[in-house]
C-alpha cells in the first residue's frame, strides 16, 4: 500500500453492513483470537497521506489499549461526494492468546464529510468511553452534539498553525457538557518526562532553596516546538508563582520574591526539548538530552557541593507513545490549564 492508497487499508465493506462484516471476521477467526475493547478511539484527519501512518499508530496503541478504532479521513474540499468504509484487525500475542482490536476506516469525500457526527455515533462500541483524536485544524463552528459525546479530546498543539485561536476553540469544547470532556494535549504529554527530570534537579535540599530564586531559564527546542517550550515555561511559572511581565522587547516573569526571571527559547535541530539550563545565584541546573539516546543527563553545579550527573528517561517523541501515555493516565491535567494561562500572551 502506498502512503496515499486508502484502498489497501482493509477489507472494503458497505457502510450499512459494517457490524455484520465485523461479526463475520471474528467468526472466521474462531477461538484463536479474542476481540478486546476498552475504548472507542476515533481519529479524525484530512490528510490522505496519513492513512497508513494512522493505521500503524492504531496497531502500536492497540498492544496497550485494546480499542475499537475508527479512522475518519475527511476530504470536505473535493467536488465528488461519497462515503466508503474498510475493516481490519490488529492482533498481538498476550501470553498464549491473540488479542485483537478492530479498526473501521471511513473515507468521507465532499458533502458527506458533514456526516461526521452520524458516522461516529452509529459505529461506537456501546457503553465504552469515546476518545477523539482530532488531527485537523479546529473549526470555529462547533457541532455541540458531537463534542458533548466526547469523553477525552486529544490534540497536539505543536501541530497548530494558529495556537491562540485553536486554544480558544479547545477551551470552548472543554466547557461543553458541564466540562465533562477531558482535554489531552499530546504536546503536554510530550513534556511529562522533561518535567519529572526538571523536578528531580531540585529535590536536594540545597537545590530546593535555589528554586525560588531562579534567575534565568534557557530552553533549546526543535523547529516547530516553540509551543512545547512555552508550555514548559508556563508550567514553571504556574508552579512557582511567576507572573508574566509582557514587555514588548523582552518579556520576563516576576517571581514572588521580586526576582526577575528571564527566559530564552532557542530553536535547534534535535528532539523537541534538547536542553534546559537554569541559573540561581552561583548554581547551575542543567538537563541535557543525550544525543541519539532517549535519556536526559541531569547535572547540578553549585560551588562547594559535589556534582552527581544522573541519567533519567527523556521525553517521548513518537506519537504512539504519547497517546499510550495519555490514555494510560486516565485523569484530567490539572496543571495544564494553569501552564497555558501563564503563557497565553506569548503564543
Amino acid at each position: 500500500m502506498s502512503s496515499t492508497d486508502i484502498e489497501g487499508v482493509g477489507l472494503p465493506v458497505e457502510i450499512g453492513k459494517i457490524d455484520r462484516e465485523l461479526g463475520k471476521l471474528w467468526e472466521e477467526a474462531g477461538e484463536s483470537k479474542t476481540r478486546a475493547s476498552l475504548i472507542n478511539l476515533v481519529l479524525y484527519f484530512e490528510d490522505r497521506t496519513q492513512v497508513q501512518a494512522n493505521t500503524q499508530l492504531i496497531a502500536d496503541i492497540a498492544t496497550e489499549h485494546a480499542c475499537r478504532a475508527i479512522l475518519i479521513l475527511a476530504e470536505p474540499g473535493t467536488s465528488e461526494s461519497g462515503a466508503k468504509a474498510w475493516i481490519n484487525a490488529h492482533c498481538h500475542l498476550a501470553g498464549k492468546r491473540q488479542i485483537c482490536s478492530e479498526q473501521i476506516t471511513f473515507h468521507l469525500a465532499g458533502e458527506t464529510a458533514k456526516a461526521l457526527p452520524s458516522i461516529v455515533f452509529s459505529h461506537l462500541d456501546s457503553d465504552l468511553p469515546l476518545c477523539l483524536w482530532w488531527q485537523a485544524p479546529f473549526q470555529r463552528t462547533i457541532d455541540e452534539q458531537l463534542w458533548a459525546w466526547v469523553d477525552r479530546l486529544v490534540f497536539d498543539s505543536a501541530q497548530w498553525e494558529e495556537p491562540p485561536a485553536s486554544f480558544e476553540i479547545i477551551r470552548k469544547i472543554g466547557s461543553l457538557g458541564e466540562g465533562r470532556t477531558v482535554l489531552g494535549d499530546l504536546n503536554w504529554a510530550r513534556l511529562l518526562e522533561t518535567r519529572i527530570a526538571i523536578a528531580g534537579l531540585f529535590d536536594h535540599a540545597v537545590a530546593l532553596e535555589k528554586l525560588s530564586k531562579l534567575e534565568t531559564v534557557a530552553i533549546d527546542h526543535s523547529p516547530g516546538h516553540r509551543t512545547t517550550a512555552l508550555l514548559l515555561v508556563g508550567w514553571l511559572a504556574s508552579r512557582l508563582g511567576w507572573k508574566l511581565q509582557p514587555m514588548l522587547d523582552k518579556p520576563f516573569f516576576l517571581a514572588p520574591s521580586g526576582t526577575h526571571v528571564r527566559f530564552d527559547l532557542t530553536e535547534k535541530p534535535g528532539p523537541s526539548i534538547s536542553r534546559c539550563l537554569f541559573t540561581s545565584g552561583d548554581c547551575e541546573f542543567l538537563l541535557k538530552h543525550c544525543n541519539e539516546r532517549n535519556f536526559f543527563e541531569a547535572t547540578v553545579s553549585c560551588p562547594g557541593s559535589q556534582e552527581h550527573p544522573r541519567i533519567t528517561k527523556a521525553g517521548r517523541e513518537k506519537l504512539a507513545d504519547l497517546l499510550i501515555s495519555e490514555l494510560g493516565r486516565g485523569s484530567r491535567h490539572g496543571h495544564y490549564r494553569h501552564a497555558l494561562d501563564a503563557i497565553l500572551p506569548l503564543l
Binding site: E64, H92, R97, I99, E193, L236, H308, R310, K313, R332
Partner: protein, 526 residues
C-alpha cells in the same frame, strides 16, 4: 507528618502526604500518585535471594519508569566481604535476570551509582555506628534529607538483633525533618506469643505508624481490585451477603513441592505459611464492610473487625471444620514426583501439613450462615489463587425445574495467574428446544490492559517510601490472625491421627470434599 487522602480527579485517588515544609513544588501533580520523597533504603540481608530476585529489580523498575525521585539510595547491609562495585555488579546480573522489563544498561549504570554496600555482622554495634555515619554522608551528598527505610530481608531470627542495634545506634529516630521506617518481611512470628513478642520488639524501635509488615499478596493488582469491584460497582454490594451468597471458596494451589525450603517448611506447614497471612487477608478483603474512607486505618479497621468476627474453633470443631493432609508420591505434568516425607531435609516421619482445607464462619450480620471454605496446597495439579463467590441458586421452577446442570451463579476473582474476573450464568442453547447451559463471562486483565502489571514488590516499596501503609498488615491484624490459627494448631498438637495423604498431582484428600458436601457444595474445578 500526617497522611491525607487526596482526590486528584474524578477517577484517580491517591493517598498522599500532607504538604511538607520543604516539599518540591515542581513535584505536584506530575504523576497519578504521590511521589516518594528522596530517601535511602537500607536492606538487611542484602546478599540474600529476596534482595536479588525481588527488591532491587523492583527498585530498578520503579526508577526506570520515573516513579522514584532521583535521590534514592540503596545500601545493602550484610556480613559477606564485598565492595560497592562487586555488589553493584552482582545486583546488575540479578536484575537482568529477574526484572519484569528488559534492563537498559545506561539507566542501570545511573541507578546503580546509588547502590552501596555496607559490610557488617548484624550483631556488631560498630557496624551500625559506621552505617549511621555513612547515611549522614549520603544525606548531605545526595540530598536524601535524613529519610531512611530499613528493610528487614534477613532471616526472622536476626530481626531482634537488627532492631536492637538500630535502636542502640539511634538509627531508628530520623534526623529532624526526615523519617525512619521499617519494613518487616513475613513470617510475623510463628504463633500469637511470638508475634506479640516480635511486635513488641519492633515497637521498641519504631512506632506502629512507621512499621510496614509486608504481605506481597496485598500488592497484587487483583487483590487491590477487590475493593474496587465491591465498592465502586453498585450491582455487587447489594448481593454481597448471606441472603444471596451460598458460600465462598478461597483457593491457593501450586504444583511445586518444598523446593529446597524444607528447613523452613517443616516448621511452618501450609497453615502458617499461607493461611495465617495471605489467605486470611484475602478473606478479610472479601468479607469486610465498606470502610469509612480510603485511608489506611479505615481499611485496616474493617479488616480487623472481620478477624474478630471469626467463629472460634474448639478441638472438636477443628476435627469437623479443618482438613490437613500431606502429599504422597505422584505425578505433576506427567513427571513422577516424590512424597513429601521423601523430600530432601524432610523428617521421614514428618506430620507437617502441605495441604489445608478449612471451613471458616464469620459471625456477623452480613455473613451469618455463609461458610467460607479456604484451601491451600502444594503438589496440586495447577497454580491458581482465586476467590469464588457462589451465589444461591434460582428457585427450582420454570427453567430450573428439571435442570441437571449447575445453574448457580459464580463470581470468580482470579488473583494469579491470568488475573481477571469471571461470572458464570445460565443461557439458552440456540435451537428449537429450551436447553439451559452455564456460560462464562470472562474478563482478563492481560487482554484488556496490555501494559505489564507491576510486580507486587514495586507497589509495596513505593507505598512504604511514600508513607502509605494501606497495603501493609497492622499489628492487631497480625495478632488477631494468629489468635485464630493458634486454635487449630493447639488442636493438632494433641492428636496427629487426622493427617490425610493425597497423591501429588491430585486436588487433595477426599476428606476436603466431604467438608463441602455437608453444605451441598463441591470444590470448584480449576
Amino acid at each position: 507528618m500526617g497522611q491525607c487522602l487526596v482526590r486528584v480527579t474524578d477517577q484517580v485517588y491517591v493517598i498522599g502526604m500532607s504538604e511538607r515544609k520543604h516539599a518540591n513544588p515542581l513535584r505536584g501533580g506530575l504523576l497519578n500518585r504521590a511521589l516518594p520523597e528522596p530517601c535511602t533504603v537500607v536492606i538487611f540481608g542484602a546478599t540474600g535471594d529476596l534482595t536479588h530476585r525481588k527488591l532491587v529489580p523492583a527498585l530498578y523498575n520503579l526508577a526506570a519508569e520515573g516513579a522514584l525521585p532521583q535521590s534514592v539510595n540503596v545500601v545493602g547491609f550484610a556480613r559477606r566481604d564485598k565492595t560497592d562495585e562487586s555488589f553493584r555488579e552482582e545486583l546488575g546480573e540479578a536484575t537482568r535476570k529477574h526484572s519484569r522489563q528488559a534492563v537498559n544498561e545506561e539507566l542501570w549504570a545511573s541507578f546503580s551509582d546509588s547502590i552501596f554496600y555496607h559490610r557488617s555482622a548484624f550483631d556488631d554495634a560498630s557496624g551500625y555506628e559506621s552505617l549511621a555515619k555513612r547515611l549522614n554522608d549520603l544525606d548531605s551528598e545526595r540530598g536524601t534529607r535524613g529519610n531512611r527505610l530499613f528493610y528487614l530481608a534477613a532471616a526472622p531470627d536476626q530481626f531482634q538483633v537488627i532492631l536492637e542495634n538500630l535502636r542502640e545506634s539511634g538509627l531508628n529516630v530520623a534526623p529532624a525533618g526526615g523519617w525512619a521506617r521499617v519494613i518487616v518481611e513475613k513470617p510475623f512470628g510463628t504463633d500469637l506469643d511470638s508475634a506479640r513478642a516480635l511486635n513488641a520488639l519492633v515497637e521498641g524501635s519504631f512506632p506502629e505508624s512507621e512499621t510496614y509488615r509486608i504481605d506481597h499478596y496485598l500488592g497484587k493488582e487483583t487483590a487491590q481490585n477487590l475493593m474496587v469491584l465491591r465498592f465502586a460497582n453498585a450491582i455487587f454490594e447489594h448481593l454481597w451477603n448471606g441472603r444471596y451468597i451460598h458460600h465462598v471458596q478461597i483457593t491457593a494451589s501450586e504444583p511445586l513441592g518444598v523446593e529446597g525450603r524444607a528447613g523452613y517448611y517443616e516448621k511452618s506447614g501450609a497453615l502458617r505459611d499461607m493461611v495465617q497471612n495471605h489467605l486470611l487477608q484475602l478473606l478479610c478483603l472479601t468479607a469486610m464492610e465498606p470502610p469509612a474512607g480510603l485511608d489506611a486505618d479505615s481499611i485496616r479497621d474493617e479488616k480487623v473487625k472481620v478477624l474478630r468476627s471469626l467463629r472460634p474453633l474448639t478441638s472438636e470443631t477443628v476435627r469437623t471444620h479443618v482438613v490437613r493432609a500431606q502429599y504422597g508420591a505422584g505425578a505433576i505434568n506427567g513427571k513422577r514426583v516424590a512424597a513429601y516425607r521423601d523430600e530432601e531435609n524432610v523428617n521421614p516421619e514428618s506430620v507437617t501439613e502441605t495441604y489445608v482445607a478449612l471451613q471458616i464462619n464469620i459471625d456477623n450480620w452480613r455473613w451469618a450462615g455463609v461458610p467460607f471454605f479456604v484451601r491451600v496446597g502444594k503438589r496440586l495439579p495447577k497454580a491458581a489463587t482465586e476467590i469464588a463467590i457462589h451465589f444461591k441458586g434460582a428457585p427450582p421452577v420454570l427453567f430450573n425445574a428439571a435442570s441437571d446442570s449447575p445453574t448457580d451463579n459464580v463470581l470468580v476473582i482470579r488473583i494469579q495467574p491470568d488475573e481477571g474476573i469471571s461470572l458464570r450464568m445460565s443461557a439458552k442453547v440456540p435451537g428449537a428446544a429450551v436447553r439451559v447451559e452455564p456460560v462464562k463471562m470472562d474478563f482478563h486483565y492481560g487482554t484488556s490492559f496490555g501494559k505489564a502489571t507491576p510486580e507486587a514488590y514495586e507497589r509495596l516499596l513505593l507505598d512504604a517510601m511514600s508513607g502509605d501503609p494501606t497495603l501493609f498488615a497492622r499489628r492487631d491484624e497480625v495478632e488477631e490472625a494468629w489468635k485464630f490459627i493458634d486454635q487449630i494448631h493447639s488442636a493438632w498438637e494433641s492428636d496427629a491421627s487426622d493427617l490425610a495423604v493425597y497423591s501429588a498431582g491430585s486436588w487433595g484428600p477426599t476428606e476436603a470434599d466431604d467438608l463441602l458436601a455437608q453444605h451441598d457444595a463441591t470444590w470448584r474445578r480449576l
